[in-house]
């Protein structure tokens, strides 16, 4: 087995015992990228082998000493291309690093490069990237999910040991489910957003994408914590999440909301998730039926709030300070308009316009204010639910990976692929996707585990116990 196939915790143990060093890991990772990335297209920007090996020399201490980590293309890394997979940021090399990037480097990680994503994280399939679609390692005719599709595909195809993504409406969990890996969106405020190129500031969170739950706990411990540069980051102590691995979960209460098991879900997905729920029951977990009555309004609420925030955040891309600048402008307004029209893809334009529309005079109350109130109702649903349970179990995605091109001309249908992941973002609560089985045709299925704000410990306990008992993540995609 190549070192690239092993988990970070396993590799760190071998490095400690002096059996291998960081350069050995990087060698195997780079070989894998060379062998398979032409089929997957997981990476948008890869750091040079020379730089990586040089970096590996010095990195001997820290919790991630010598471990290569891939970053989503919206996480700023000092003097390295960071482009949100958008033409409008072509050539952009940030003059500073995101707080999470600094934290990784402080713990000895080696930054591999940037992974492909939907442009500005607008999408659920990785098809809106200016670098072309990333392919699902389990079936390269299919999409990997999105928007952190490159990060999920890289980890699934063993092109990276671990990766970071960002999740605004499911962008870590949905691709993790579709690629058969573990992906967590932490509580809003758990991880600093400083240096994450903003999509929707009240919803965005950075989180880990890993081969198993133990690595998820490790990476979450490294990136969490208060940061003066992000005033929305929570000033709360960070536990070592690996302490919760192997915990007894007998007596834990798991809620199952009926609104997440409705028509429109793929029958194989529902069957697999139901089986996972029975596995929890078998482990002594009490299963509680739940109502989350406002679930069906989550997608509509999300597309108002997220688009409104996006249209505001993306107004900074005007060709003046960074990125693409149109060469055909006669005055300043024309410079902005021409730059933005040339630089943004269709989905970005669609969301910017939707956002500008719902915020525009005469529509603000009917759309934005209304959505902000429905958001309160969705949050209250969860507050009530957590009086009866410790975690909530649902499918991560209503379907397994779909075929490339299938939903590209039907934006609403694409938006609905996030129907089960969006509510956690609106409520600001943490959720993970863990593999829970495969379809008959061999596509991975994900189980979502949701907990109360700042109770990632419950998620890690439940997810790890499930992973150990159900043994669903011991297959690897066959890429020849």
């Amino acid at each position: 087995m190549g070192l690239n196939q092993r988990t970070a915790l396993d590799l760190i143990e071998s490095v400690k015992r002096g059996k291998i060093n960081s350069s050995d890991i990087i060698k195997d990772v780079l070989k894998r990228i060379k062998d398979v990335d032409s089929k997957i297209n997981a990476f948008a920007h890869l750091n040079s082998a020379e730089d990586l090996f040089k970096n590996a020399e010095g990195k001997k201490s820290g919790r991630l000493a010598g471990i290569p980590v891939a970053l989503k293309d919206n996480l700023c890394e000092n003097d390295r291309l960071t482009t949100c997979s958008s033409k409008i940021l072509s050539g952009f090399k940030p003059p500073y690093s995101a707080t999470v990037v600094k934290k990784l480097e402080d713990e000895g990680a080696i930054i591999l490069g940037k992974t492909n994503m939907d442009e500005f994280a607008f999408g659920s399939s990785c098809e809106t990237s200016c670098y072309g679609t990333t392919r699902n390692p389990w079936d390269t005719k299919r999409i990997p999910g999105g928007s952190s599709g490159g990060s999920a595909a890289a980890v699934a195809a063993d092109e990276a040991v671990m990766a970071l993504g960002s999740d605004t409406g499911g962008s870590i969990r949905q691709p993790a489910a579709l690629c058969g890996v573990v992906g967590m969106k932490p509580t809003y405020g758990r991880v600093s957003r400083y240096g994450l190129i903003a999509f929707a500031s009240s919803l965005d969170q950075i989180g880990p994408i890993t081969k198993d739950v133990s690595d998820c706990a490790l990476l979450l411990s490294v990136i969490s914590g208060h940061d003066e540069s992000d005033s929305t980051s929570a000033d709360m102590p960070v536990p070592d999440y690996t302490d919760f691995l192997g915990s007894e979960i007998r007596g834990m209460r798991a809620g199952v909301p009926k609104e997440y098991f409705v028509e429109g879900s793929d029958p194989e997905v529902e069957k697999s998730v139901r089986k996972a729920i029975e596995t929890f029951r078998g482990m002594g977990v009490e299963i509680v039926e739940l109502d989350l009555p406002h679930t069906k309004y989550a997608v509509g609420t999300y597309y108002i709030i997220a688009s409104a925030e996006a249209s505001s955040n993306l107004s900074r891309f005007d060709g003046v300070q960074y990125g693409h600048r149109s060469s055909s402008s006669k005055d300043i307004i024309d410079l902005y308009s021409a730059t933005r029209s040339e630089g943004f893809g269709d989905e970005a334009k669609r969301r910017i316009m939707l956002g500008a529309y719902v915020l525009s005079s005469g529509y603000y109350d009917a759309y934005y204010l209304k959505a902000s109130k429905v958001r309160t109702k969705i949050k209250e649903d969860f507050d009530n639910a957590f009086k009866k349970c410790d975690v909530i179990l649902t499918p991560t995605s209503p379907t397994p990976a779909f075929k490339a091109g299938e939903k590209m001309n039907d934006p609403l249908n694409m938006y609905l692929s996030d129907v089960y992941t969006i509510p956690a973002n609106l409520a600001g609560i943490p959720a993970v996707s863990v593999p829970c089985g495969f379809t008959k045709s061999g596509l991975p299925i994900g189980l979502q585990i949701i907990a109360q704000a700042f109770r990632e410990d419950n998620i890690i306990k439940a997810a790890h116990a499930f992973e150990v008992t159900a043994k669903c993540n011991n297959r690897k995609p066959d890429l020849g």
């Binding site: 050539g91 952009f92 090399k93 003059p95 500073y96 809003y188 405020g189 009240s202 003066e228 005033s231 929305t232 929570a234 406002h294 069906k296 309004y297 997608v299 509509g300 609420t301 597309y303 108002i304 107004s315 060709g319 003046v320 300070q321 960074y322 693409h324 600048r325 402008s329 006669k330 005055d331 300043i332 024309d334 410079l335 308009s337 933005r340 029209s341 943004f344 334009k349 910017i352 316009m353 939707l354 956002g355 500008a356 529309y357 525009s360 759309y367 204010l369 209304k370 902000s372 109130k373 429905v374 958001r375 309160t376 109702k377 949050k379 934006p411 609403l412 409520a427 600001g428 704000a453």
Partner: protein, 97 residues
């Protein structure tokens, strides 16, 4: 729900996007479908409900008013397509009188 070509043109102008007639028509059709879906929120009774703009119970966050290091001028200018004399350079903004 319908959204007129004129309102799409207006929104595009507000958002500083230059769209062709074909694009205006294309986006008008798609936005109409999305807005129609979003309209279901009207069914939710939100009387007396406070809006949520932020999920954390944070009010104001203060820090010490002290000086620290910031980016250098050359760092700030290194990504621009055009600069001169330490400034970002753009087409003329003020009309000649």
């Amino acid at each position: 729900m319908d959204i007129s070509i004129d309102s799409v043109r207006n929104v595009a102008k507000l958002a500083r996007l230059k769209l062709s007639d074909r694009e205006l028509e294309f986006f008008a059709g798609q936005l109409a479908i999305i807005l129609e879906y979003i309209d279901q929120l009207k069914k939710v009774d939100t009387s007396g409900v406070e809006p949520t703009s932020h999920v954390l119970p944070i009010q104001n966050v203060f820090r010490k008013d002290s000086t620290g290091s910031s980016l250098t001028q050359s760092d700030v200018l290194k990504n621009t397509a055009s600069s001169e004399g330490g400034l970002f350079k753009v087409p003329r903004v003020v009309e000649e009188s």
